[in-house]
Symmetry: C2
Subunit: 533 residues, 2 copies
């Protein structure tokens, strides 16, 4: 393996060539050459699941330059260095090991003589065993009643990913298992209406709370823990021990880990970033309680398979690499500043919110991994809603607005619940997918009309990720595909995708306000009276 060099994007020869390459005429390309493009502009994510970029504004020349960029930026070598345990998170001087939470992908990484692969695996096994005992009634609430509900208390990475996965698999579990072992709810916001609203709909006595904070110091999460403890006390049920209704998911060194009063605790460490932690106990505890361990195990297997494919497939048919570099081309050569994720599956309703964090918190950076400002655009704005809903909403701007917003569609041949109905000659699932395909072509090719208000300019690029059905394995692979795409883009931009210094200043100023010690800047004094704080 050649020595790894971390270089800025604009110092790469292939990037200069990309900038000088002729831009394509997407409508013409897709009208002329759709068959070949659909067949060749594709790469597998895992078996039966593909990334297709036939409707992206690239041609053979540009694709070839993207391959060269992947090599020159040493994307695969940097990924391998990551799983080998190198210090990839330079800002915090940490390894980046979330891939190991899904399975063995490189040599074992040891820390102080401990195998981290085994550590992550053991925590999952503990979560699974715990969930099974809750399901069988071997573990019950402090008053002896069986748990029927689980509530995750966490924010950001401890909320968005697990919540998106929960919604994505709820119907699947209903169909394939007939029922869901425990009902699940989520509390995240420090807004008291969030916790109070959730608590109004559950019985605290039969609820198991999963308190998730890696540091054990997250303001919102500790505040909501206090809120929940208070609600448990307010039940007035004799013999109820509030903390025995809570399990913690935290790092071994956090304040939460030191409390023996919780029912149990599951551990993560500093090498799993919050937004990459859905496949750690941050996700596996609540999800195995809600769905059972076997569903979670399949989810982890899917994620692991996509990790391996992204590591082992040559760049020419590496979906995560190609997705990443198409995005870099759109961001840094074509100059598009946002990208839409459009899942044609209601089950993925909150998946874009997870991707928004994953992508924008990872790559919304102004300095490279050495702390030097970069002279090019980095991470785009990411947003999205499920189709076909979005078609009746913001698609107007995507079709006829003054800016171009690249898109990624996600589709499945079959539905999750497998309940469908023929109506006016087609099933709902067929209508859904017909809409998806129609949109790709409408965006890319457009349509002339002598009335300019009814004309579609086209030239609006999109890609498609598709699979047979949104199973736990497919969802795991999807999650992992995006994580790897974001990582590869971070490598291309030469930034550190694994810290988040941009969240710090707000925390400091909030503390100054709450401390009332006169340390807050004058602008805060002027503004705070508007909200009476």
């Amino acid at each position: 393996m050649s020595t790894i060099r971390y270089r800025n994007l604009d110092s790469l020869k292939s990037f200069g060539e990309l900038q000088r390459a002729s831009p394509t005429d997407l409508p013409a390309l897709l009208e002329r050459d759709a068959g070949r493009r659909v067949e060749q502009y594709t790469a597998p994510i895992v078996d039966g699941m593909h990334y297709n970029f036939a409707a992206k504004a690239v041609d053979d020349t540009i694709v070839e330059l993207l391959h060269r960029l992947a090599h020159e930026a040493q994307l695969l070598e940097k990924y391998r260095a990551t799983v080998n345990g190198e210090i990839i998170n330079t800002g915090e001087q940490r390894m980046v090991l979330h891939h190991l939470t899904r399975g063995e992908i490189g040599p074992d990484v040891n820390l102080n003589g401990r195998s981290l692969l085994r550590f992550y695996r053991d925590q999952h096994q503990r979560a699974f065993a715990f969930a099974e005992k809750v399901h069988t009634g071997e573990i019950v609430g402090s008053t002896g009643k069986q748990f029927d509900t689980v509530v995750q208390i966490g924010i950001g990475g401890s909320d968005l990913g697990p919540r998106a996965v929960f919604y994505a698999l709820q119907n699947y579990v209903l169909h394939d298992h007939g029922e869901q072992p425990l009902q699940a709810r989520f509390i995240s916001n420090v807004d008291p209406d969030d916790a109070a609203g959730v608590l109004a709909g559950i019985d605290p006595e039969t609820t198991l709370f999963v308190l998730v904070s890696k540091s054990g110091t997250t303001q919102e999460t500790l505040t909501n823990e206090a809120f929940v403890l208070d609600a448990l006390e307010q039940t007035g049920v004799s013999g109820l021990h509030p903390r025995k209704h809570i399990v913690a998911v935290t790092s071994e060194t956090s304040p939460l880990a030191r409390s023996s009063e919780y029912l149990d605790a599951f551990y993560i460490d500093d090498y799993i970033g919050g937004r990459y932690s859905s496949t750690s106990p941050v996700g596996s505890v609540v999800l195995s309680l809600a769905f059972g361990p076997s569903v979670v195990g399949r989810f982890l297997v899917g994620a692991h398979r996509a990790d391996l494919a992204a590591l082992e497939n040559p760049v020419e048919r590496n979906a995560a690499v190609l997705d990443a570099l198409t995005g870099v081309y759109e961001r840094n050569v074509l100059g598009y500043s946002a990208t839409a994720v459009l899942p044609y599956s209601q089950a993925l309703s909150r998946f874009p919110a997870h991707l928004q964090q994953l992508d924008m918190e990872s790559n919304g950076k102004r300095v490279n991994r050495f702390g030097e400002p970069v002279a090019y655009a980095t991470g785009p704005l990411v947003f999205g809603e499920p189709g076909t809903n979005g078609q009746h909403s913001f698609y107007q701007l995507l079709h006829q607005g003054t800016d171009i917003v690249p898109m990624q569609f996600i589709g499945f041949r079959r539905s999750q619940l497998q309940q469908d109905l023929e109506f006016e000659g087609s099933s709902s699932q067929r209508k859904l997918n017909a809409n998806l395909i129609a949109q790709i072509v409408a965006f890319a090719i457009g349509q002339y009309n002598e009335d300019a208000n009814k004309a579609f300019p086209g030239g609006r690029p999109s890609s498609l990720i598709y699979a047979e059905r949104l199973t736990p394995e497919v969802l795991g692979a999807l999650l992992s595909h995006y994580e790897n795409k974001v990582m590869f883009q971070g490598f291309a931009w030469n930034i550190n995708s694994f810290d988040q210094e941009g969240v710090q200043l707000g925390k400091v100023l909030t503390k100054q306000i709450l401390a009332e010690d006169g340390s807050a800047p004058p602008a805060i004094t002027a503004l705070r009276k508007l909200l009476g704080v």
Copy 2:
């Protein structure tokens, strides 16, 4: 009143002056002059509810130019022409009368001798009377059982607005009324998992379905109606008449209006655009069933008051005008392409999705109201999630990314459920609002750090909408404020904010695919096999 002239933004003298005005130094302005700015850069939306733009990148010179732009573009005159019944929706040659659904705001608008104000009011009264009869059990399901659930079936404007309002008031109703008369759910997506998932959680026999489609031809909505009818039939309950569990909300000329088989029907007309229809029966039927008519009445009053304020307040203290033109300045002079809406209230979790449609579908246009392409940017990309959640997600990019994204915060002094807890010296509500204020200052002023990775550049503008508590009146005013802001921006850009031709091509191509008649273009043939359609 002077004659109204519809002119492009770039033909206005004041716009040229705005372009030539010196850009401001926001960090310096806010550090030096915060007190005065907070006091003066403000305008009332309704009593007790304000728009404050102290942290926007404007100074007295620019504000003065925005006032002149408002006059020169005749924003208030064009709004008055709208409520007077002029043909503002030029593309479809229609009046734009959603303001009248909230109350009397101009002279009565008559059509074929009928008062439209009275028509809209009558439909609300019918909806209220109907809801009361359902609540008292005077109207029951076809098997004689009382309804306990209402399910809205609609998409786009028939879904996003009413759904956002429902979530926004659920906790409020719980607190102030002790309970919610009917549970409410929503089906929108043609994805069969959406309808099947909702149906799995309800009892169709005791559910009232509200079928909402202005045209009566919306593919998704009719498909989901068939889905629901099938589910009602599948119950096998003897004597159950499926259509007697459905009420329609539609236009008087639609196919749905002609069916006497429905339990009842409520009417809207062509002068209420889908995304502006939450205050028509599209919202009032489901919301009065879920919450009771008095809550809906208060919501309409709030919307009406904000409409009046936006019509009658001089531009210098007109919140909707100032919010609109600050946005135009950011879009067309500063060149920012997106804007974030950040409500610090979990109740507003789906409000950004509604605003996304409202704004992007209204102003995502490339041609002016005369059908001529414009040479300037129009509507921005709009997105958002509640704070503090977003702080742990995409705020990283907003603080330290390479692009600047203007923001609008929304905050309330008090929570909805009024359940709160002191923890570590402050209540949750106080923590929530301390975070909000801290973010405004962190974004605007930033902070130097010799480690560039920990430095905050500042200069990231935001505004704040705030009120005492998210009541039905305040929510109505908030909804209406945004509608009026979007309308004023449309006037400034000289576009038609009330049609949506950009949704048509996708519909045509979808039909071609489903018809299987060989009319679909070759690119579709190549792509459709990927999803087996």
